[in-house]
Structures are given as structure tokens and as C-alpha cells.
Symmetry: C2
């Protein structure tokens, strides 16, 4: 028994919430297995347990949907994750690109009271160091309209909000060129041939490939 029972449930629910938010493709067993980097047999077994626990619903077309209960738990886990990230950056002076893995552990600390106190201690932040919004204690998420940098208008200035990619190599790159949430970015020009962008950040001119521009999310 001990502590951290049903720890992995929270990871499954988070992954399901993430996939359903994208809603690019149907969320099936394979998609979930890929997201979690686990064997499909493992995932199928666990999804059945989650179904028994009324956290997910298995649809006739084999897609996996979060129930209200599952959605709530996913959002409370995301809340914990993001608040701990704020703590690590604001109080322990971590870089915003370093905190994700640490928060993967801290998010499983069980006490809800603790995370509510943490929220107050941090001054009720609206978003985490990556620019992602923090659900409130009831699991309510206030979404802002995000635009991929790839699709912005020339000449305008935007505020970097978050990113659509979490690979370390991507985050390292962003860190190197000093792109981070809340920073201002002005769009100078677009190369129509390869869809790359010329932008200005901190008064320095920068060339961003289409692949990078696709994964940087901004708001006007």
C-alpha cells in the first residue's frame, strides 16, 4: 500500500486530457500508448481499470473519453504540476526550461490543501513558467486564444505564451535564442519559399524555421 498508490492514474488522465485538447486525431489505445511511451497491452489494461473507476469511458468506436470525474482529476493534476513549476522558478531560481521533470514528481503529492496553500503562497499565479494557464481549485481552466507563430501577420508584435512541443532539444534551442513565455516578438518578414520567419526579440534579429514557428504559440 504505502504512499503514492494509483500514481500512474494521474499520468494517464493528464495524457488523455492533453490528447483530447489537441483533438487533431481520435484518442485511441495506440495514440495513448504513444503519448505515454508505453506498450499498447499495458495501456489497454490500464484503460479498463480507469473505466472501472469511472475515470474514462470506452466508446463503441474504441476511442477513449474522459468522464467528468476523470477530467476533473486530470485538471487538478495539471494544477499541481503547474503550481510546482511556478514554485521552482520563482522561489528556487530554476530556469523555466528545467522544471518539467521535477514537476512530474511533485504533481503526485496528494494533499489538495497543500497545493491550495502553495497557490496562495505564490500569489495565485494565472499561468506557469511555460505560459500555460493554471486551473483553479475547482479544476476550471481559463483558456486564452493561442496563435501558432507560423500563422501571424507581418509587421505586428505578439507576446509569446507557450509552446506546442516539449522535446528537450526544442526547449534548449528556445533557451539559447532567449525565446520564453511573456517575451515580445515582432514579425519582420516571411520567406515564402520555406515559410521561415524573420523576427525581432530583445532588439536582436532572428531567423526561425517553419518547424520552429509552428511550435511557438503567441497571443496578440
Amino acid at each position: 500500500m504505502s504512499h503514492f498508490a494509483h500514481l500512474s492514474e494521474e499520468n494517464y488522465l493528464k495524457a488523455l486530457f492533453k490528447l483530447s485538447s489537441k483533438q487533431v486525431k481520435k484518442v485511441n489505445n495506440i495514440a495513448l500508448a504513444k503519448e505515454l511511451d508505453l506498450n499498447p497491452a499495458t495501456v489497454l489494461e490500464m484503460v479498463r481499470k480507469l473505466s472501472d473507476r469511472k475515470m474514462v469511458q470506452l466508446m463503441p468506436d474504441k476511442t477513449i473519453h474522459l468522464t467528468e470525474k476523470g477530467r476533473k482529476k486530470a485538471l487538478l493534476t495539471i494544477r499541481k504540476h503547474r503550481l510546482w513549476e511556478v514554485f521552482l522558478v520563482d522561489k528556487l531560481n530554476y530556469q523555466w526550461s528545467e522544471v518539467h521533470e521535477l514537476a512530474e514528481q511533485l504533481e503526485h503529492i496528494e494533499s489538495e490543501d497543500l497545493v491550495n496553500r502553495l497557490d496562495a503562497f505564490l500569489g495565485f499565479p494565472a499561468s506557469d513558467p511555460h505560459g500555460d494557464p493554471i486551473p483553479d481549485k475547482n479544476g476550471k481552466l481559463t483558456q486564452v486564444q493561442l496563435i501558432p507563430l507560423k500563422e501571424v501577420e507581418l509587421g505586428k508584435t505578439y507576446i509569446v505564451q507557450s509552446f506546442a512541443e516539449t522535446a528537450d532539444s526544442f526547449l534548449d534551442y528556445l533557451s539559447k535564442v532567449d525565446i520564453r513565455p511573456a517575451i515580445k516578438i515582432k514579425i519582420l518578414d516571411r520567406n515564402e519559399y520555406d515559410q521561415s520567419l524573420i523576427v525581432v526579440i530583445n532588439k536582436k534579429q532572428l531567423h526561425l524555421s517553419e518547424k520552429v514557428a509552428k511550435n511557438i504559440l503567441v497571443k496578440p
Copy 2:
């Protein structure tokens, strides 16, 4: 696999360190099982694993001793536990009697870097909210000489440092009569018949039974 692998190892090592510090009785399988509130078969199995991992040594007389490696790991876990307790009390406004169970989870967060930063953030505290000393980052523990209140001299004043008992009912009692680490306590009289004490705390007179007095540890 996932996170928190070998989580229980840290609990076993902490328990072994605690028992060996008391050194009232020999630390054998039964004693450890009692301390951890686990089945002796379970504990024997785990102790053998810890022996394989060179964390403990099984002596010919069946007592269980921490190796240097095991002692170090125990002390680093205790360090994490106590620093998180300081965090909970100093930053999240918990009562010192509420934090133990929460710290039981937080102590298993793996990053050593994190706990060192936490230490700095908290201002390198010397002891936790219960008055217990915090090991440094190398696992070095500075012990102060502790005297059970039962054994103090009449007429003198002492400083409460920590407690030799962790039962909730005991901590609740202390909380009610406002006995906590760092508070001053003056010894007025001792009843020779039942070994109870009359003391003064915060200018209020208080009667302490022998059982209570045995478990309150003070320094001059």
C-alpha cells in the same frame, strides 16, 4: 518503472537509522517490522534486498546494521524530510504538529539539487519545526545534547528541543498546552510519588505526568 522506484528503501533506511540512534534494544527483524508496521516476512525479504544493494549488513547475531552507504542515504532522506517540514511551517503556514505526514511524501522527491536549493531558500535552517537537527548536504548531523524532561533539575529553566514520541495524540496534547520546540520551560517541583512535574510555560503553571515528561527533550 515510472517515478519513485525504490521508494520504500528510504523508509526502511530511515527506520533503521531511528532505531540505531535509540540503541536501547538490538535492531533485529522483529524490531524493524514493528517500527515500520509491516509483516516480518516482508521485512526480512526487503532487508535481504537492502543487503544485496550494500545498504545494510546482516550480522551473525541477526541484527541489522546500516552500512556507510545506507547511513548516508538515511541521513539524506531525513534531511529532505526536515527541510520540507520547515517549508510547510515557515512558508505555507502549517502548524508544526501537522506537517509530518506531508513530509513523509515530499521526502521521496528525488532531486538532490532541489533539496539543496530549498535549503538555501529557507535560509539554511539548523533544525526542523520539531526541533530536530537538519543534516547538511553531505549527510553530516550535528547532534545537541538532549535531556528528557523527566531527568532535569528543579528550579532551572530549559529550552524544549524535540520529542521522543510521534503519536498524534501526544502531539495534539502538546499543541493544546502550547509546548513546542524553542519554548522555555521552568521546572518548579517534582512529585516523588508519581514522578509528575510542575512546570511553568508562558507564565502559566502546568502539571506534566511522568509519561509526558519522559518524552519531552530539552537542552539547558
